[in-house]
């Protein structure tokens, strides 16, 4: 089995609010093998972004805190590092692509200056060298005429181009791990296809691992090797991608797969739905949270279901109602 570049064990991330500490990420376990792509899928508010931001410690401060568990990355324990050590890793060993390319870029600085910043922080390059390196990296993410673009401002670029710039910044120092948080959600399908292909190509070139966070199961199927399904702050199922799509086990995963219309679904037929809505984080029960959505009485949901490996690499939360043996 391939070595893991990242191993997350029992991660707990909470937010302090007026109502007390709320656990957005509740004992999450998963790993990222070297050179492979792991997709995290789930509905908004399921904790997928918070998990990712916990890895690079970009949680909103001071409310967001990692309260337990470990994040093991490339021989280091990230939860034990101080702020300065974390800065060394962020942008250098771990690159991050955020969802909205307009807000991830500073509108008042030239593209080149923003990319140069990464080089100036993590390497010994001079300003001039960093500017040259920025042009090179823009060329690598296939921005046409990079010599001209490097001196432009974000508003002069289209959405797809801006996302390429964000990718260029994330990849500037050849990271070992790239975290892409909904990198294509704000983009059109045609541009989405370009970006996904670009990430795959660069991954092959520099051998990095990728965590791809998305709610689009199509993107997961096309781009990932492993899938982690999150629901209400927990991982309910994880498996290699082919196994998960061929043999989904948890009722939530099944419901999710059944409810997307594909080009083969008969037209105007009734779509499968998952009844109810995700409970608010204030009301999370201890027991199975998917049962909570399906209106199982709360007093029956006192015990957290065991997370067990049912076949090689395929883990499921074993809730008697959500998982049929």
């Amino acid at each position: 089995m391939a070595e893991n570049i990242l191993q997350i064990e029992n991660l707990i991330t909470s937010f302090e609010t007026e109502a007390g500490w709320l656990r957005a990420v509740d004992k999450v376990n998963f790993e990222v093998p070297k050179g492979e792509t792991v997709g995290i899928v789930g509905e908004s508010g399921c904790g997928k972004s918070v998990t990712a931001m916990s890895i690079v410690r970009l949680l909103p401060q001071p409310m967001g805190q990692i309260l337990g568990g470990s994040i093991h990355f490339d021989g280091k324990e990230l939860t034990k590092l101080d702020r300065k050590e974390m800065i060394d890793i962020r942008g250098n060993d771990i690159g991050v692509i955020f969802q909205e390319p307009m807000t991830a870029l500073n509108p008042s600085h030239r593209i080149g200056k923003q990319i140069s910043e990464v080089f100036l922080l993590h390497t010994n390059m001079s300003k001039k060298e960093a500017w040259e390196a920025s042009i090179e990296i823009l060329r690598k993410v296939k921005i046409p005429s990079p010599e001209r673009r490097v001196g432009e401002y974000p508003h002069q670029l289209s959405g797809g181009m801006r996302q390429r710039v964000v990718i260029a910044m994330a990849l500037a120092c050849n990271p070992k791990l790239l975290i892409a948080d909904e990198p294509t959600t704000a983009l059109d399908v045609t541009v989405q296809a370009q970006i996904i292909d670009l990430i795959e190509e660069l991954q092959r070139d520099i051998g990095m691992s990728v965590i791809l966070i998305t709610h689009d199961l199509g993107v997961i199927a096309q781009a990932c090797d492993h899938v982690v399904v999150m629901y209400a702050g927990r991982v309910v199922e994880k498996a290699p991608v082919k196994e998960l799509f061929a043999n989904p086990q948890h009722a939530y995963t099944k419901g999710l797969l059944a409810s997307i219309p594909t080009l083969d679904t008969p037209r105007k037929s009734e779509l499968n739905t998952i009844p109810g809505n995700v409970a608010s984080i204030h009301d999370f029960v201890k027991g199975c949270r998917f049962c909570q959505r399906l209106d199982v009485p709360v007093d029956e949901l006192t015990e957290r279901p065991e997370f067990r490996e049912i076949s090689s690499g395929h883990w499921v939360e074993i809730c008697p109602r959500c998982f049929e043996v």
């Binding site: 709610h215 082919k242 999710l256 080009l263 679904t265 037209r267």
Partner: protein
């Protein structure tokens, strides 16, 4: 009464761009450029295209939220292209909109009751008690509990808010609903609930939808016919099954090939499009898509009539040598020439 509920004829919507000290018009954004289409009673016309191609503008023109620069809009037999506000108010009873982001399209300071009742107030329908009963009925109809009536939008999840938006849209028994990306802000599991509701209401009330979206799988599912839009123009229009099984236009093919299929065993051969949609301020003189893919026959298309021709029954496509296969283009151009001859 004609068979078509809405007819749009050679519609143009150009927005002026002003500049300089005197704010002279220096250019215009050709958001909708010479579009003709129709929607039958009770059918769904899907409208797809990339962001910035003008699909929302077309939707707004259809309900006259924009006054078009040129062309005609005929709704239910009446020409509403330049109708006065007083006349429009009557017509708008029959045409409603559902918006993309339910969080932003509902007034946060109005209760659900006030939001839905507003429609009756504007149209001066019913008295207080009748309105109240109707709101309760509508909430029930869209699958919300009656207790929702005195709550405010922030108390609901995204899917529930979109249901409120739908309740408001159907309150006056409209004939046409323009749905502008109604499910793209919703999670997958909630998206299917809302789509089911929309299909159910259509069957029951004989609603016609103009369904604007960028998710092609969703559009295919809900639509009877689909129009593909590129840079202010419709490039292909056909029965939903036909457009997906037998796309003719290169842009339609590229769009279809870009949809990620939720099955890891199928690795698709994607037609990768380089670049982005060109700016509608200064569109290429010839075939806009031919220009994007730098087609060798682009020069030919400058000044050419690229309007839609019916290449197969109910299957319309732009007669564009850059975007059609040779056989199709031969057929399309001969049809176009014949059409022009007849018109003369």
């Amino acid at each position: 009464m004609s068979e078509n509920l809405l007819e749009i004829d050679r519609l143009k919507m150009h927005f002026p761009i002003t500049g300089g000290v005197m704010l002279k018009q220096v250019a215009s954004v050709k958001a909708v450029d010479d579009i003709s289409l129709f929607i039958r009673h009770g059918e769904t016309l899907g409208l797809v295209g990339e962001s910035g191609c003008g699909k929302s503008t077309l939707g707004k023109c259809a309900v006259r939220l924009n006054t078009p620069t040129d062309g005609k809009i005929i709704f239910d037999g009446q020409d509403i292209t330049h109708a006065k506000p007083s006349k429009l108010r009557g017509v708008r009873r029959d045409m409603q909109m559902i918006f993309q982001d339910p969080a932003e399209s509902l007034d946060p300071r109005m209760s659900v009751r006030a939001i839905i009742e507003e429609a009756f107030a504007i149209q001066k329908i019913g008295v207080r008690k009748e309105r109240y009963d109707k709101v309760k009925y509508l909430l029930d109809r869209v699958g919300l509990p009656t207790s929702a009536i005195d709550k405010f939008p922030f108390e609901f999840s995204g899917g529930q808010r979109q249901r409120i938006g739908i309740a408001r849209a159907i309150a006056l028994n409209p004939k046409l609903v323009i749905a502008d990306e109604p499910v793209s802000a919703l999670d997958v599991s909630v998206q299917s609930q809302v789509l089911n509701l929309m299909m159910e209401l259509q069957r029951e009330m004989n609603l016609a939808y103009l369904f604007i979206a960028h998710d092609l799988a969703v559009v295919k599912h809900i639509s009877d016919r689909v129009a593909v839009m590129y840079l202010g123009k419709i490039v292909e229009l056909a029965d939903a099954d036909a457009i997906y099984k037998n796309p003719k236009h290169a842009y339609t093919k590229a769009l279809l090939s870009a949809i990620p299929i939720p099955d890891p065993l199928i690795k698709k051969q994607r037609i990768l499009l380089e670049g982005d949609v060109p700016s509608p301020i200064d569109p290429p003189a010839g075939s806009a898509f031919g220009h994007r893919i730098s087609h060798s026959r682009y020069e030919e298309t400058i000044g050419m009539d690229l309007s839609l021709v019916e290449i197969e029954k109910d299957h319309w496509v732009a007669a564009d040598p850059c975007c059609l296969e040779e056989v199709d283009y031969q057929k399309a151009s001969s049809l176009r020439d014949r059409g022009t001859a007849e018109a003369l």
